[in-house]
């Protein structure tokens, strides 16, 4: 059973880390962009959406070029003692990058849907900008952000191409479920592949169902 549990736990660890990183990054960037009045905003948005349309192998290649041993930031990361190639942390970076647009898009739409008048009301009622964000904008956007985060989690669960490029296929160390499925099929282990496929599918369906279930009840009902 180890051939199932080891990659499953690794996949969950990678996907949870990638989702957590994306919650911070995606929400911060989305909030910044939703308030930024400039024509460059749409250009920035297009670049940030690229991971959604580029083949994951291309993203993995970029990651190698940027973060690999001989990459642009390789020496710098080396000095900090950070090793991303052929490690599970590398898989986290790959999954984070691939799933980023899902959180970012959802969060930006959610922030733009917040009535600016409510934020004005908060300012008149004595709030500083940071408090306006944490007490008004963020809770009102929470539902959209949660939905985006669960999509990102499901996407990170299934990440294959970029992960293979940067983290490789080291059983027990970097072999996530989707990579293990590929390896199992290549090796002719159809039963092992079928079990892992079923587990991945069920986990993703549960994540998507949670998306609706986690939304705060009063927000769910009051939306038109």
């Amino acid at each position: 059973m180890d051939s199932l549990w080891v990659p499953l736990l690794l996949t969950l660890k990678v996907a949870l880390w990638a989702t957590a990183l994306n919650l911070v990054l995606g929400v911060a960037v989305a909030f910044g962009l939703s308030r930024w009045r400039s024509h460059a905003r749409e250009v920035a948005d297009a670049i940030l959406t690229l991971p959604l349309v580029l083949p994951p192998t291309v993203l993995g290649y970029y990651l190698l070029v940027l973060l690999g041993r001989r990459g642009v930031f390789g020496e710098w990361l080396d000095r900090l003692g950070i090793e991303l190639v052929f490690t599970w942390q590398g898989a986290v970076v790959a999954s984070t990058l691939v799933a980023f647009p899902l959180v970012h898009k959802a969060a930006r739409a959610a922030f733009e849907a917040v009535d600016p008048q409510l934020e004005s009301a908060g300012r008149v009622l004595g709030l500083r900008e940071a408090a306006v964000f944490f007490r008004i904008s963020l809770p009102l956007a929470a539902r959209g952000i949660t939905a985006g985060a669960l999509l990102a989690f499901a996407r990170a669960m299934g990440e294959f191409g970029a992960t293979l490029m940067i983290a490789g296929n080291l059983p027990g160390r970097t072999q996530t479920l989707s990579v293990a499925i590929y390896a199992a099929v290549q090796a002719g282990d159809d039963r092992g592949a079928a079990i892992m496929v079923a587990v991945t599918s069920v986990t993703c369906v549960v994540a998507l169902l949670l998306a609706g279930w986690l939304a705060p009840a009063h927000l769910r009902r009051s939306r038109p």
């Binding site: 004005s120 008149v124 408090a131 009063h218």
Partner: protein, 221 residues
């Protein structure tokens, strides 16, 4: 003069030009800015609250300068001691009635708790007869109750001036008359200083305040 406003603001859009040039001063406890929509009433109110930065002029309330272009004073909204009741009330949909009312009492990055209730909130819930809906969300209560919540939320921090943007426009006509009487009684009971903007002559008649008429961004003399 307890309310002394003189502001100029040029608004330039792609297809719209509007020049606001409003000046008035009054000692009345109820000041009514009256005029058709597009006269600049809301812009004036937003400038007094600090939500709109004028190009020039000054705003003084009870002798304190909130804005003065000449000396570079421009207090942020949170430091003006002015409350604002928005036309559609702008109640926070993610908070209960009690949390909405206590909103400005909670400092920092957290909203007021749903359980603990500040005595000031409890007093206002009683004053506005909102005890029965204290734990309801704002989307679940009636129009008249919503207005009362908005007023209570504005009054909880004891502002020196309450700005009301078309306070009765969002109500159905049957309720309007009653809420006008209610507001007038409340103003007299608590000796509030109100600055009300309206396009409705019936509001002007009911509030019996110092009425200033606005048209095309200027005070009609």
């Amino acid at each position: 003069m307890s309310v002394d406003v003189a502001i100029r603001k040029a608004l330039r859009d792609d297809d719209r030009h509007f020049d606001l040039d409003v000046a008035f001063a009054s000692d009345a406890r109820r000041i009514v800015l009256f005029g058709p929509s597009g006269a600049g009433k809301s812009l004036t109110l937003r400038a007094v609250a600090g939500l709109l930065l004028p190009d020039d002029g000054h705003v003084r309330v009870d002798g304190q300068t909130l804005y003065d272009a000449a000396t570079g004073v421009a207090l942020p909204p949170r430091e003006r001691g002015v409350a604002y009741v928005f036309q559609d009330y702008a109640l926070f949909p993610h908070l209960t009635v009690a949390q909405n009312i206590g909103f400005s009492l909670a400092r920092g990055w957290l909203n007021p708790s749903r359980r603990a209730r500040d005595p000031r909130v409890a007093r206002l819930l009683e004053l506005f007869e909102l005890g029965g809906v204290a734990d309801s969300y704002a989307s679940r209560i009636s129009g008249g109750q919503r207005q009362r919540v908005a007023l209570a939320r504005a009054l909880v921090s004891e502002p020196r001036l309450v700005l009301l943007d078309e306070p009765f426009a969002a109500l159905d006509p049957a309720l309007r008359g009653r809420m006008r009487t209610e507001l007038l009684a409340l103003q007299q009971r608590l000796d509030l200083q109100l600055l009300v903007i309206t396009h409705d002559p019936a509001d002007v008649d009911a509030l019996q305040g110092h009425t200033i008429e606005l048209r095309d961004g200027r005070v009609v003399v």
